[in-house]
């Protein structure tokens, strides 16, 4: 199981790095799907099979299909790739990348200061997750339902074509 976690983690990091650096949106999207599936494997090896399934179905499935539809409707062409190449010169990305790297190094330093030997290997069954969702977190579930309804209404309203103007 350890080997599965470490190889999936390496794949996730590599695919994520490729996804944020591709010039063509569809290529980035495919690398993103690979990264999300690799993170799902990490969830599974950390003892969260229910969340791993949700990650595959909702993230890698539904959300990425939404992206595919929008990219298809945008009809990005060769001109967009050329423009992306102009935007993605080293002078543009070096500064933000260095700053993010410093933040990551601070995190690594903080982790190195805390004692090791904590093991993240306790499996949590889906039944326990369901029980806690509809027990103490019931108000959160209701709020999430409201948020999704609001998102649905907003997406319908925003994506509508203006017929009057």
């Amino acid at each position: 199981m350890e080997i599965a976690f470490y190889s999936a983690g390496a794949i996730a990091l590599a695919a994520a790095a490729l996804a944020v650096s591709r010039l063509h949106a569809v290529h980035a999207l495919l690398y993103m799907v690979v990264a999300l599936l690799a993170v799902a494997v990490c969830f599974f090896t950390l003892g969260a099979p229910f969340v791993a399934a949700l990650q595959v179905i909702i993230y890698a499935g539904a959300i990425m299909v939404l992206f595919v539809f929008v990219i298809m409707m945008l009809t990005l062409g060769e001109a967009d790739t050329v423009r992306e190449r102009q935007w993605l010169r080293p002078g543009m990305w070096l500064g933000p990348a260095l700053l993010a790297l410093v933040l990551l190094l601070e995190l690594v330093y903080a982790l190195a200061l805390t004692p090791e030997a904590l093991r993240a290997d306790t499996a949590v069954a889906p039944a326990a997750v369901g029980a806690i969702l509809f027990g103490p977190y019931l108000i959160g579930v209701e709020l999430a339902a409201l948020l999704l309804l609001a998102g649905l209404v907003a997406a319908y309203h925003l994506a509508r074509r203006d017929e009057g103007t």
């Binding site: 350890e2 599965a4 976690f5 990091l13 994520a16 790095a17 996804a19 944020v20 949106a25 980035a28 999207l29 993103m32 990264a35 999300l36 990490c42 950390l46 969260a48 969340v51 949700l54 909702i58 993230y59 959300i63 939404l66 992206f67 929008v70 409707m73 945008l74 935007w87 990305w93 933000p96 990348a97 993010a100 933040l103 995190l107 690594v108 982790l111 090791e116 030997a117 093991r119 993240a120 290997d121 306790t122 499996a123 949590v124 326990a128 997750v129 806690i132 977190y137 959160g140 999430a144 948020l147 999704l148 998102g151 649905l152 907003a154 997406a155 319908y156 925003l158 994506a159 074509r161």
Partner: protein, 102 residues
């Protein structure tokens, strides 16, 4: 089960978060920024799952399910905005988002 130290899971989460942060700051195409945002949310979610697995507590997984619902709603609204921006300006440059005020 596997014996994975919590540190390694948190390092992976931090790495994903840093990559997403770079993407959000560097890219100007709205589609890429949204993809990087998904990466940020996934890094945070991985930290939640790892912490939940460390203490054997289902709260971590419950929180990730909330993050999932949030991401779904956020992407739906943001992609509708991208479509509207493309329709009005014929472009997906984030700098032109301000033109949508009127």
């Amino acid at each position: 089960m596997a014996e994975i130290p919590l540190h390694h899971a948190l390092l992976l989460a931090g790495g994903l978060f840093a990559l997403g942060l770079i993407g959000v700051m560097v890219r100007r195409n709205l589609i890429f920024m949204l993809l990087s945002l998904e990466l940020l949310l996934n890094g945070g979610g991985l930290a939640l799952i790892a912490a939940g697995a460390r203490w054997g507590d289902p709260s971590g997984q419950a929180m990730f399910i909330f993050v999932l619902a949030l991401a779904a709603a956020e992407v739906a609204v943001a992609l509708a905005l991208v479509l509207q921006l493309q329709r009005r300006t014929g472009d997906v440059d984030v700098d032109r988002l301000g033109e949508m005020r009127d």
